[in-house]
């Protein structure tokens, strides 16, 4: 593999305390090295901005549900055909289609073209894990992994009902290993199971799920403790109850308080940060939520920003999509999945002139701008739910450019914005260093990926080089160079190489006794044989379990060592 020297760029590497210093970044054998030999290929990055490759902590790109959304939306693919790129390596270049849910190869190319080199799919039903691996195999360039849905899993609920929380932890470990997953995902804990039983009402933290011992609170505690006791690199990844509902900020804060002092990641917070008016309508609850987060260093989150334009809402939270379909009249897909989880999909368009869309947009920006710790509140649009990942550059401009943001604010529906901090004129502008934190350094650290999100010696050689531009949306949309694992994939703004990415997964140890009870459960109720459930070994070595994340939350890491 060729050595590379990215010469003379202005480097933003916040994990190593480097904030806009002109220096060379050297690469050899897929890793960042201290110096490169005289034969190294030199990329002239003078006047350009150099950052680690982007890390997407929460996206939907490779799962059975994503593929159902693809199938549901031919009308989006037709106007966005994607010819095969003109590659210079010996990889077969592949065509595809775009829209809010692009085809697999196109997804990989477009992420890399945006300077992102690591992507996690946030919601995979365990029984469908084989499909996710196959889709990641067809999603080139990016390293990928997925979070495994457990918050409505029948076997887990049974263990909680029996008071067997230690066995629940062993079960979670077994599921991670059986599926090749990376982290525990909880979606509307207990609420999806209630929806399958016909319930329509809100699920609160102490709502009984069949038994008074099984509540969303108990599910959250059990799975968050499991992730932390197993020392998984990423904490349990939580999508709270009552997504989208007016007044749901009380549920979100209640969930955070229930887990106070425990490492936990709360996802797409924007969708969970609504207050209620006296009449029961929506208002912003962002300030209340972010004040709690700011004061609690154990909490991390991603925003799930809404961006105006077409989106595909797709989630394991089936009841939410039922309500959305009812309120929009748009086509609705629901699939209940094997005593494990659900899946709902509704296409949606966020409009500047629509009051709720405008409020959602504002709530997301409030969370970003009121957050005091960029290491703990990071960037996402919950692609494709709040908008496509292709909208990240526009979102970065909104964060960095106050004038642009205020102009945009004037164009949106103001009806529900009373009480939004955005109307008070939030003056904050993200710096390039803060953008580097919320798009790569912090997500990598929250995910426990010690070799990613920074440019210290030994780190994975995932590097993005942007030509400076006063329009930050242009700057971040078209990197001049992208290097993935030492391979120059984007050269002079063109995608030129498309190597396969690595699979990020964990294999925690578990008590083999758990398999005995599980086999009996499978024999009684499952439609898939226990012997066929596990996906078997993966070619990439697992990410190590048992090391907690280096460095205090909220500052640069003490050590700059890479390694995995």
């Amino acid at each position: 593999m060729t050595a590379l020297r990215i010469a003379g760029g202005t480097v933003y590497d916040p994990a190593n305390g480097i904030d806009g210093e002109v220096r060379d970044i050297c690469i050899d054998n897929g890793r960042i090295v201290a110096t490169a030999g005289p034969d190294a290929k030199v990329l002239d990055a003078r006047g350009m901005v150099v950052m680690p490759g982007g890390v997407d902590i929460h996206s939907h790109v490779a799962s059975s549900s994503v593929n159902l959304a693809r199938r549901l939306l031919p009308e989006e693919h037709i106007p966005d055909p994607v010819p095969a790129p003109d590659l210079r390596d010996d990889v077969v270049p592949r065509s595809g289609t775009g829209g809010t849910v692009p085809s697999t190869f196109t997804t990989g190319y477009r992420y890399a073209g945006l300077g992102y080199t690591t992507v996690f799919d946030a919601a995979v039903a365990p029984v469908t894990a084989r499909l996710s691996h196959a889709e990641f195999d067809d999603t080139p360039i990016v390293d990928g992994g997925f979070f495994v849905l457990l918050g409505n899993d029948e076997y887990l609920l049974r263990l909680i009902d029996a008071g067997e929380r230690e066995r629940a932890r062993e079960y979670a470990a077994w599921v991670m290993t059986a599926t090749g997953g990376y982290a525990i995902k909880i979606v509307n804990p207990g609420g999806v199971e209630l929806w399958k039983r016909g319930a329509r009402e809100r699920t609160d933290l102490d709502t009984a799920i069949g038994s008074s011992r099984v509540t969303p609170r108990a599910i959250l505690e059990t799975l968050v403790d499991a992730g932390n006791t197993l020392k998984l690199p990423h904490a349990a990844h939580i999508h709270c109850n009552n997504l989208g509902a007016a007044g749901n900020v009380s549920t979100t804060l209640g969930s955070m308080r229930a887990l106070e002092g425990r490492r936990a990641h709360f996802t797409h917070l924007q969708f969970h940060a609504y207050g209620a008016t006296v009449e029961g309508g929506w208002r912003s609850g962002a300030r209340e939520l972010i004040e709690y987060v700011n004061a609690h260093p154990e909490v991390t989150g991603d925003v799930g920003q809404v961006m105006f334009g077409p989106a595909a809402t797709l989630t394991a939270d089936g009841p939410v999509e039922y309500l959305l379909a009812k309120s929009t009249g748009r086509k609705w897909l629901n699939v209940d999945i094997e005593l494990e989880t659900g899946c709902g999909i509704v296409p949606y368009t966020y409009k500047e002139k629509a009051a709720v869309s405008a409020l959602q947009w504002a709530v997301g920006l409030e969370l970003f701008l009121l957050s005091t710790d960029p290491w703990r509140i990071v960037l996402s649009t919950d692609h494709p739910n709040g908008g496509s990942f292709l909208a990240y550059p526009e979102l970065i401009r909104l964060l960095m450019d106050r004038t642009y943001r205020e102009e945009k604010l004037k164009t949106v529906n103001q009806k529900l914005l009373a009480g939004s901090a955005l109307l008070d004129g939030l003056t904050r502008e993200y710096t390039l260093s803060e953008v580097a934190i919320v798009t790569r350094a912090a997500p990598a650290r929250i995910l426990g990926l010690t070799g990613k999100g920074h440019l210290g010696v030994g780190a994975d050689a995932d590097v993005t080089v942007y030509a400076s531009d006063p329009d930050f949306s242009k700057m971040f949309a078209t990197p001049r160079y992208v290097v993935k694992a030492g391979v120059l994939v984007v050269e002079e703004g063109q995608l030129r190489r498309a190597p396969a990415g690595r699979r990020l997964h964990v294999r925690p140890e578990y008590d083999r006794q758990i398999e005995h009870g599980l086999r009996g459960y499978f024999d009684r109720y499952s439609t898939v044989s226990f012997d066929n459930y596990s996906i078997g070994p993966l070619p990439d070595a697992p990410v190590s379990v048992g090391q907690t994340v280096s460095g205090p939350p909220g500052g640069p890491a003490r050590s700059t060592a890479g390694g995995r």
């Binding site: 593929n67 159902l68 693809r70 199938r71 549901l72 939306l73 031919p74 693919h77 037709i78 055909p81 010819p83 095969a84 077969v92 592949r94 065509s95 595809g96 289609t97 829209g99 849910v101 085809s103 697999t104 190869f105 029984v127 469908t128 084989r130 499909l131 691996h133 196959a134 889709e135 990641f136 195999d137 067809d138 929806w195 399958k196 039983r197 016909g198 609705w332 897909l333 629901n334 699939v335 209940d336 999945i337 094997e338 005593l339 509704v346 396969a500 990415g501 699979r503 109720y525 499952s526 439609t527 898939v528 044989s529 012997d531 066929n532 996906i535 078997g536 993966l538 070619p539 990439d540």
Partner: protein, 447 residues
């Protein structure tokens, strides 16, 4: 293409003793894809497929398949046959790659790649059999459930003009109504409604029977949807009374499941594409509307051989589930226009392709890579392969899109995945630019 490679476990084959049993084998005899088959192997042949139904036993057979490779009527090496296929495809102006049943998802993925670089058309058996249910779901969405949910929750099952006994024999014992589920008891605790539509009866042992004349099928579904959406809908005439009787059985359910066959062969002799679409759309609408009052999922029956896998793989890589053309250098979706190819590469079991499809190919050169390819008289080039799930490991999708592991149970001829990879190498290298083949079939040359 696949850095993760074959994840499906070690092959049995040569490392196993002469006589042995392989547990938890997946059967692709129909879309039920039962994965509890106990295969006894004796002398390198399948002696018994335990737990399998009659369809499954026929699908496994004794595992023997031909292992010939021929160009026109000459036996040749695999390398020569690959070169011949590549040469025909390179010279074709309108090549078609056609995915027949009995190949793994891994093979299907490689076939899409080949169609992409050749700028070929790409189609599957789904287009001529089950496309109506897919297109209807693209227009309306759908309310569905995987078979595990059907097994564990469905307390009311409505079989809409289908008795699974014939074409999906173990549906009833493996999924519903017979098993004891987590949230519902066995057969006695479930209500089975048979809707007999013309010559298509529901299950014989149903608790309730409703007769629907074949020409009133779609209208009955539309009336049913109307009544479910608005129980105060005025009822007039026999059709509406029948619809109300069905609605009154469905709405008290905790979790209703409507079972319908998506394969066109079962929707009546006079059905047109338009009427199939109307039927599929109305079935979806009924299932969706029932979710306003209770929970309901539509269980769509699909035939075997990993057809659902082809739909999923095409969607994943192109955005479209079937009927794709790469002629412009990117995928386009042409569900209602059959291509007119001048060369067809069939991947999979050619004997399972509907006659109407092969007839539409006319004089196009036929290249067949799949199980029993050499028995396909019209093939210019035939490469016999093994069958996915018998001779090769891999992945297949059940009718409800749940992925399942395929095991190798005995050794067999070439793996079609390897054949496609070799074909891809030859195609990429440009070595296929040589002279075209003489275009005569084995049949023609023996006349």
């Amino acid at each position: 293409m696949s850095p993760a490679g074959d994840r499906s476990g070690a092959p049995a084959g040569a490392r196993q003793p002469q006589d042995h049993v392989i547990e938890s084998v997946t059967c692709l005899g129909c879309g039920c894809s039962c994965d509890d088959i106990r295969v006894q192997v004796r002398d390198g042949r399948i002696a018994r497929a335990g737990n399998a139904c009659a369809l499954g036993e026929a699908w496994f057979g004794d595992g023997r398949v031909p292992a010939r490779t021929r160009v026109v009527d000459r036996d040749v090496s695999i390398g020569d046959a690959i070169d011949a296929v590549a040469a025909v495809l390179a010279h074709a102006k309108a090549p078609l790659i056609y995915l027949a049943p009995d190949v793994s998802c891994e093979t299907q993925r490689e076939a899409v790649a080949l169609a992409d670089i050749l700028h070929a058309s790409l189609d599957t058996v789904t287009t001529s059999t089950a496309l109506a249910s897919i297109v209807a779901a693209q227009e309306r969405g759908r309310a569905g459930a995987t078979l595990g949910e059907v097994r564990n929750r469905a307390d009311v099952l409505l079989f809409w003009g289908v008795d699974p006994h014939a074409r999906y024999p173990r549906y009833l014992s493996r999924y519903a109504p017979e098993p004891q589920g987590v949230h519902v008891g066995g057969r006695g605790a479930r209500t089975v409604i048979a809707v007999d539509i013309g010559e298509r009866p529901g299950p014989a042992d149903a608790d309730v029977r409703v007769d629907v004349p074949a020409d009133e099928e779609v209208d009955t579904l539309l009336a049913l949807e109307a009544i479910v959406r608005n129980p105060a809908t005025p009822i007039a005439g026999a059709l509406w009374t029948r619809a109300r009787d069905i609605a009154e059985r469905l709405t008290p359910a905790k979790y209703a499941v409507i079972v319908a066959d998506a394969e066109a062969g079962d929707t009546g002799a006079h059905s047109t594409r338009g009427s199939q679409l109307a039927r599929a759309s109305a079935l979806i609408a009924v299932a969706q509307s029932l979710n306003d009052q209770t929970r309901c999922g539509l269980s769509t029956l699909r035939a075997g051989g990993n057809r659902a896998g082809a739909d999923s793989v095409l969607t994943s890589q192109t955005g479209y589930p079937a009927a794709v053309s790469f002629i412009h250098g990117f995928p386009t979706y042409r569900p209602f226009d059959a291509p007119t190819p001048d060369a067809v590469l069939v991947i999979g079991a050619a004997n399972l392709i509907p006659d109407a499809v092969t007839q539409a190919w006319g004089e196009a050169a036929r290249l067949v890579v799949g199980p029993r390819a050499s028995e396909h008289g019209a093939a210019h080039v035939a490469i016999d392969t093994g069958i996915a799930g018998i001779h090769h490991a891999g992945t297949a999708l059940r009718m409800d899109d749940v992925p399942l592991r395929l095991r190798q149970v005995i050794d067999g001829p070439a793996n079609p995945l390897d054949m496609l990879r070799r074909l891809m190498r030859v195609t990429k290298s440009g070595a296929a630019e040589g002279p075209p083949l003489p275009m005569r079939t084995a049949q023609e040359s023996t006349r």
